[in-house]
Amino acid sequence: MEDCMTLQPKPSRSRLDPEPMPRRDWLGLSSLWAMAGALLFGLVGMIRMPKAAVLPSPSKKFKVALPENLPPGEPFVPPGRAVAIFKDPDGLYAVSMICTHLGCVVKANPEGFECPCHGSRFHADGAVARGPAPQPLPWLKITASGGVVTVDEGSTVRSGTKVAG
């Protein structure tokens, strides 16, 4: 009797005015988070596939015979390669001819190199003379035996590293 006559009825709880964490909400939330986690996991997996692990490009190493009388300071560009090989009294060295700005192939000129795409200029040792290129042209790893030079376009050496040849 007394229970029925209370003046202040118990506040009824609804989904809009919930108790701290009903079991149903907990289940719902945890399944939502489980789904979000699974989607994220799947997304990472999906990005792994187009990010190639083995690059399909041809070998970066090549061998080339130097011309007999290569004057010092004169670049020798093997046909079909973007590499300039120089010979001077200190030895041999190779400078990459791929512009460090946006990847165009630079052209050798009497002062060094010039890029046709956005006008970067480089000195003969690869240092930036002017233009937007952020880095000097890298020197490439080479080995020489006899008149034959092996250039590895995939690995760079510190500028100024010359090889006896």
Partner: protein, 518 residues
């Protein structure tokens, strides 16, 4: 039993039904009957899955030419044209280096109507880029991005970016010199965050640039992998993205109560055309208006009668059809007048000189020639962010739906045009005449050039000018007017310089006639 008293009765009925079949197919397909009354015109719209994206009745303000100039429909029309011609081109195109070039050559010279299809595809893509940019300008200058349309403005920016991405991915597919070097440059722009990470010396540990490039090319050089990826993006991924964005874009126009219009649009229309009122309440369509009861917010159909609306069929649809036909005409005429270019086969050893991107990216290329990261990624990101923020910073209501509405108005836009055109001309002529930091201080760190170059100075100048406009007119809308006008003018000036005044080695020339011969 009684019906078949004569053996021929069933056959006669069968013959009658056969004769009536075509008409019955028509009647069952278009159940509402011919759209001759307001009621059947309504059924015509909401009884059709393709048309019911439109509302049954359209406000007369939306139908005025000066409201939209038809630019949105023109963008969609151009997209539909590229879609159809693109599918036609896929019959012959083969995405493999060298073979791709041959197949484009076949399309151009051998395949019946191939050259015409390719021309239309290319011209419609160009028309789409122009129309999308102008459509954005229209939506901006009529302040159509305001509440409740803020989010649709963001979707629109997504559509702009996707349109440009579609065009750019299509640029590689012919595998000619132009394509190859544009993609080389594009992929290296994706790699250009290295400009920052290299300067900080952290590329070894954190290399988002290299990751982006690898994801784009699938290799470390532009080759077969890159071609198939760009092809996949161009014919599958990006069209799906743009279709989804378009669906949301259109649906929201409908949900936001049609096109934006001035608050007093009804009064203004009533002043000029009193006689044309439609008996909407006596012949009300039997479906749409009870939906209005569950629509919340400031949609125009709530709280006022649809006095100034006309049936979408025929008024809106015929106008849309007219714009579609006009777009088609423009594309066909341009295709007959000028062929899509095809240069020599791609040669990875000798860059095209000058190697120019498609025209709408030449402004970017101009900025890239100062700093790869800032011009290619930094400033475009800032510009897109600035555009995206506009509806969330301009919370005013004055002048919605009116050309150049808001504090300052047309005089401010005119002044902004002067500033927007002069600033890039000044900065560019200084840089062309006197060179830039590296010429004066050869040993200067790259980070300084990345941060201080003509492109960043121009961006800063525009930003400062817009802040001045906010202060001067005490209004965020005034700042937005200044900023957007500057953005458009800067885009035009840089694009024109990149297109007409840059020659071999990206050197400034007054005319291509002055270019060195070799």
């Amino acid at each position: 039993m009684n019906q078949s008293t004569t053996p021929n009765h069933a056959l006669r009925a069968f013959w009658q039904d056969l004769k009536l079949a075509p008409r019955r197919v028509y009647e069952t397909a278009f159940r509402g009957g011919p759209p001759t009354t307001d009621r059947t015109r309504s059924t015509f719209v909401f009884g059709n899955v393709f048309l019911h994206l439109h509302s049954v009745r359209t406000h007369r303000w939306s139908l005025k030419w000066s409201t939209t100039l038809g630019l949105g429909i023109m963008s969609v029309s151009a997209f539909l044209i590229t879609l159809i011609t693109g599918v036609m081109l896929m019959f012959y195109y083969k995405p493999y280096p060298d073979v791709a070039y041959e197949s484009i050559k076949d399309i151009h010279f051998v395949v019946p109507t191939g050259r015409f299809m390719r021309n239309i595809h290319r011209w419609a893509a160009n028309v789409m880029v122009v129309a999308v940019i102008l459509h954005m300008a229209r939506a901006f200058y009529t302040a159509a991005y305001r509440r409740p349309r803020e989010f649709n403005w963001l979707i629109g920016i997504g559509l702009l970016a996707t349109t440009l991405a579609l065009s750019f991915t299509g640029y590689l597919l012919p595998w000619d010199q132009l394509a190859y070097w544009a993609i080389t440059i594009g992929a290296n722009i994706a790699q250009s965050p290295r400009e920052i990470t290299d300067a900080l010396g952290i590329t070894e540990y954190f290399d988002p640039g290299g990751f982006q490039r690898l994801l784009l090319l699938g290799s470390d050089t532009v080759g077969a992998e890159a071609l198939i990826r760009f092809y996949l993006l161009h014919v599958m991924i990006l069209p799906l993205v743009i279709a989804a964005l378009m669906a949301v874009h259109f649906w929201r126009i409908r949900k936001d109560g049609g096109l934006a219009r001035p608050a007093d649009a009804d009064e203004r229309l009533a002043r000029c055309r009193e006689q044309e009122t439609y008996p909407v309440f006596t012949e009300a369509p039997n479906k749409t208006y009870h939906l209005a009861a569950v629509v919340r917010g400031k949609t125009p159909l709530v709280g006022r009668g649809p006095e100034n609306t006309v049936p979408s069929m025929p008024h809106l649809f015929y106008a849309e059809l007219g714009v579609l036909m006009l777009t088609f005409l423009v594309c066909v005429v341009l295709s007959l007048a000028s062929d899509a270019p095809l240069k020599e086969l791609a040669n990875p050893n000798v860059p095209e000189n000058p190697a120019k991107a498609p025209w709408y990216f030449l402004g970017l290329q101009e900025m890239v020639s100062f700093s790869a990261f800032m011009g290619g990624i930094g400033i475009p990101t800032i510009a897109l962010l600035g555009l995206a923020l506009i509806p969330y910073l301009d919370r005013e209501t004055e002048g919605t739906g009116e050309w150049f509405g808001g504090p300052g108005g047309w005089p401010l836009v005119r002044f902004s045009m002067v500033v927007g055109l002069c600033a890039p001309l000044l900065v560019e002529s200084f840089a062309i005449r006197f060179g830039w930091l590296r010429e004066w201080f050869p040993g200067i760190p790259q980070l300084v050039i990345t941060l201080v170059n003509p492109a960043t100075i121009l961006t800063a100048a525009y930003a400062l000018f817009s802040l001045w406009a906010v202060r001067r007119f005490q209004s965020a809308r005034a700042g937005a007017l200044a900023l957007f006008t500057c953005f458009l003018c800067g885009f035009v000036v840089l694009t024109v310089i990149g297109t007409y005044f840059r020659g071999p080695n990206w050197v400034f020339y007054w005319s291509p006639a002055d270019w060195p011969k070799h």
